[in-house]
Amino acid sequence: MSQEATTTEKSLVSPFNIIAGIIVLIGLYLTVRRFTGGLGAVTNLSDNNAWGIWIGFDLLTGVALAAGGYVTAAAVYIFGMKKYHSALRPAVLTGFLGYALVVLALHYDVGRPWRLPYPFVVQAGTSSVLFEVGACVALYLTVLFLEFSPAALEWLGLKKARNLAVKFTLVLVVFGIILSTLHQSSLGALFLIAPSKVHPLWYSSFIPVYFFVSSIIAGLSMVIFESTLSHRFFADKMDEAHLREKDDIALGFGKAASYVIAGYIAIQLLGIGADDEWRLLGTGYGLWYLVELFGFFGVACLGFAIGAREKKVQLIRWTSAWAVLAVIVNRFNVSLVAFNYHLPASDRYFPSWMEIGISVFLVTLGLIAFRFIVSRMPILYEHPEYEDVH
């Protein structure tokens, strides 16, 4: 008994817990400040810059990085790549937590949480892109919850409910892919309303396609990245199948990511050609655009390609982090750097430390929830009672 108490005591005073605890306390303070003092009390937002990092990072990047769920589900259930099955539950969990945090983050930006269902009942019309994003995110979060539920039900020992939930898997996967296709692209379509505010190199009538294709890159890369971290920190929770298949997952997803990035670079260049914006590539913004396209996406493409061809798993793992960074840079560029590019420097937006603090707080909540679930539920291993039932 005393030994158990000592173990619990030890595990509670870990570096992760201390740092996470401090971040959560600061986050709670900032939350109180945000909801009592309004946006002005914690943000540098203005009439010119109505969307800050809570949209650019928490929402746009969060949704893109949570794409691993639908990408892996499509690979396993639609394309029949059963050898990647062990990546499915961690990917769905990452997606579910990602979307849950996106919705939570949206509360900070929009305020008045009790009005969250308003788009469905009180609204100006269903032709709004923002309505489509809201509807899709709400529905997809529900789909991800249902897709994730078998793991929770196995943990709770609710066999009948679990078997019922599993029966809906294929329908949910199809529904999830449709919803993701819709809202991943619609997040890009939101910027179609501001052709004069977004720098021409980032603004394009193809921006919904760019957002959708780059979400696939983010999804594939996140699965590899998350698998690397899980293997580093939760190896003791993994069963033999997960340990055996992790290299195959990295090689397969790395190869897919490499090819998708190559296609992404091609359509980006076609977009520049279609708008005849070659002359802008020689400007300061043009150089930054080239750094994003070739320095981030191009290097990631090459890293994945060499890794997949030469079977260098370690290279693929490092490249996955770089590819995730590439997508983050892209979303920041579209929503912050290239947005309002015409304004003088004094009117440009830079987030306050409190905005950054809230974003770090939300990411930390995600990490705590992920660790809590992975430590308890059958995410990285097959539940003994349901082995080989797929």
Partner: protein
């Protein structure tokens, strides 16, 4: 009188010509890249 006067049609024809060439190049490049990616798989 001898000044060349470009119309919108001229600009669009030029732009479209460039992207048609780029599309053909991209198709060949992507096919080549796929061969590069999968070359070792056949071993």
């Amino acid at each position: 009188m001898d000044t060349v006067f470009y119309t919108l049609q001229d600009f669009l024809t030029h732009t479209k010509a460039v992207i048609y060439i780029l599309i053909v190049l991209a198709l060949f490049a992507l096919a080549g890249f796929w061969s590069f990616l999968t070359a070792r798989d056949q071993d």
